[in-house]
Symmetry: C2
Subunit: 147 residues, 2 copies
DNA sequence: TATTTACCGGACCGCAGCGGTCCTCTATTC
DNA sequence: GAATAGAGGACCGCTGCGGTCCGGTAAATA
């Protein structure tokens, strides 16, 4: 259905991994790459972005590595997606001036869709992703509905 | 944030247009293309897909054209997205056998995200998009910037 | 029956952008 | 100062998306 770049996908995977054990602990790129079964350069690239965007704190040097900047409960997946995917909304509509004035009756609808999706994802935190808590019983979804 | 192909975007636009006036009425490709300010071949292509997928009924010949196959209230945007975008989930994860077994602790989380988004969009019907309902009190400026 | 209009199906294509690699520089530890 | 690990950015092949075009068929009109 909707699409998301593979990099973003990986980003979530990595963050989930970071959040899984002791959130304080440092993990270096190599370790994470192995854990995720992904090529090191790719992982490295993503970690750099996540650091720049404030999700991770990094330390250089021999015992360097990455650790979460915030607690898993504080991090919403929307933020992660925004950071890795760029602030591109579902439709490019809005990036600058839109010429197709007439057709932009649909702009409002799109905003609405965007908001619905956004809102529903805001409620999903990193902490929700780490545990395999059989959600089946917690009706998480009820939080999400069209306003 | 999340992405959607431009074709899908156009598709929603076109359907919205179809749903706007008298849902019974027939519109031909040329007319819709002009209304949406989009090139005819593109519009034509999308309409064909939407027809094949059962959202529209078409009639050929001189007075031919397209009209909605269902009422705007019956059509969920998820369905439209699925049809135009393909059933590709947020992550390719799940399409067949996944080798990265170890890293697939994250599969469940992703499924969850997918479900949340999906569910939230299921509630948004075509009918919700045609009307400029409550929310739009803001001046044109706020329109975009979903940031 | 001829002509015109409009949809149908599919082939085709340029090109942006994505995933992925590599290399140099800087910081930290021991 | 030697080894390790992150920072930053250049580079690049290739897929797939947006877009175009064309030959075919069905309906309407006269």
């Amino acid at each position: 259905m909707l699409r998301m770049s593979r990099l973003t996908d990986y980003g979530i995977v990595l963050l989930t991994h970071l959040a899984a054990g002791d959130p304080q602990r440092q993990h270096n790129a190599r370790e994470l790459a192995e854990a995720a079964h992904l090529p090191l350069p790719v992982v490295s690239k993503i970690l750099k972005v996540l650091t720049r965007e404030g999700f991770l704190v990094s330390s250089r040097g021999v015992k360097g590595g990455y650790s979460l900047a915030r607690t898993p409960a504080e991090v919403s997946v929307v933020d992660v997606i925004d950071a890795l995917e760029g602030p591109i909304a579902l439709t490019a509509c809005g990036s600058g001036s839109c010429e197709r004035e007439a057709s932009c009756r649909v702009r409002a609808p799109w905003q609405r869709i965007n908001r619905v999706v956004r809102k529903s994802l805001e409620d999903v935190r990193l902490a929700d992703l780490v545990a395999p808590p059989p959600i089946l019983f917690l009706p998480q979804q009820e939080r999400v509905h069209v306003e």
